[in-house]
């Protein structure tokens, strides 16, 4: 399984990016460990989005409920992924985004790029995160502690 995954990433194989609920920290550790067999990698860059308990008019965010135009979003993720592989000499890229409820302090986005050198891993990770925020049809509904909510908007 591990080797299969590493071999296939060269073909930019697209697995679904959406996962139900939060991304567990231990899952990130496991994802990292899967790359120890690929000794052409010299650098990993990881971005994690975590749900903040922002306060608005005295109400505190307890969770974000994510919804998406799933088919279009998965196409966008694939497009973003392929553009990054075309632009940067990456070894691997893995993307995960939550759907459904993610509590404050939990992780909803996991972008993981790897390359021979740090420059490509870092630059690709940065660019992919920006593009996901701007271009992928996902919506977050911030749920407050009094059961009211507001729709988030990315800057």
């Amino acid at each position: 399984m591990e080797n299969k995954e590493i071999n296939h990433t060269a073909n930019h194989r697209h697995k679904p990016v959406f996962v139900e609920g939060p991304i567990e920290p231990a899952f990130v550790g496991v994802a990292i460990g899967k790359h120890s067999a690929n000794t052409t990698i010299g650098a990993h860059s990881i971005f994690l989005g975590q749900v903040r308990s922002d306060v608005l008019d005295g109400r505190t965010v307890t969770a974000i409920e994510y919804s998406a135009y799933v088919d279009m979003a998965e196409e966008k993720f694939r497009e973003i992924r392929e553009a990054a592989f075309a632009k940067y000499p990456l070894t691997c890229m893995h993307l995960y985004h939550s759907l459904g409820r993610v509590g404050a302090g939990e992780i909803s986005l996991f972008v993981f790029t790897s390359g021979k050198h740090r420059r490509e891993a870092i630059d690709a990770c940065n660019e992919v995160v920006e593009r996901i925020k701007q271009e992928v049809p996902v919506w977050g509904k911030e749920i407050f502690d009094d059961e009211t909510y507001t729709w988030k908007e990315n800057k």
Partner: protein
């Protein structure tokens, strides 16, 4: 011509997902937008973009039979 209207995020509070039967052909995204805004006036004050068959569209984008037209409020993924 029959099309499907998909609605997301905050816009789901204003109008439902629905199928529309359109008389006038050829039809564009702008025609559909005008029709929806007439039927659901709250839409006019909302910021949103439209997609046709999962591609971002403008008012000029033509529609074909069974097109999937989506109303997309500002994204907030990540």
């Amino acid at each position: 011509m029959k099309i499907t209207i998909l609605v997301f995020g905050k816009l789901t509070e204003i109008l439902p997902q629905q199928h529309l039967e359109l008389a006038d052909e050829p039809t564009t995204v702008g025609t559909v937008r005008a029709r929806l805004e007439a039927q659901f006036p709250a839409l006019k004050s909302m910021r949103y973009r439209m997609a046709v068959d999962k591609k971002m569209a403008t008012d000029d984008t033509p529609l074909t039979e069974n097109a999937e037209v989506a109303l997309l409020p500002p994204f907030s993924g990540g």
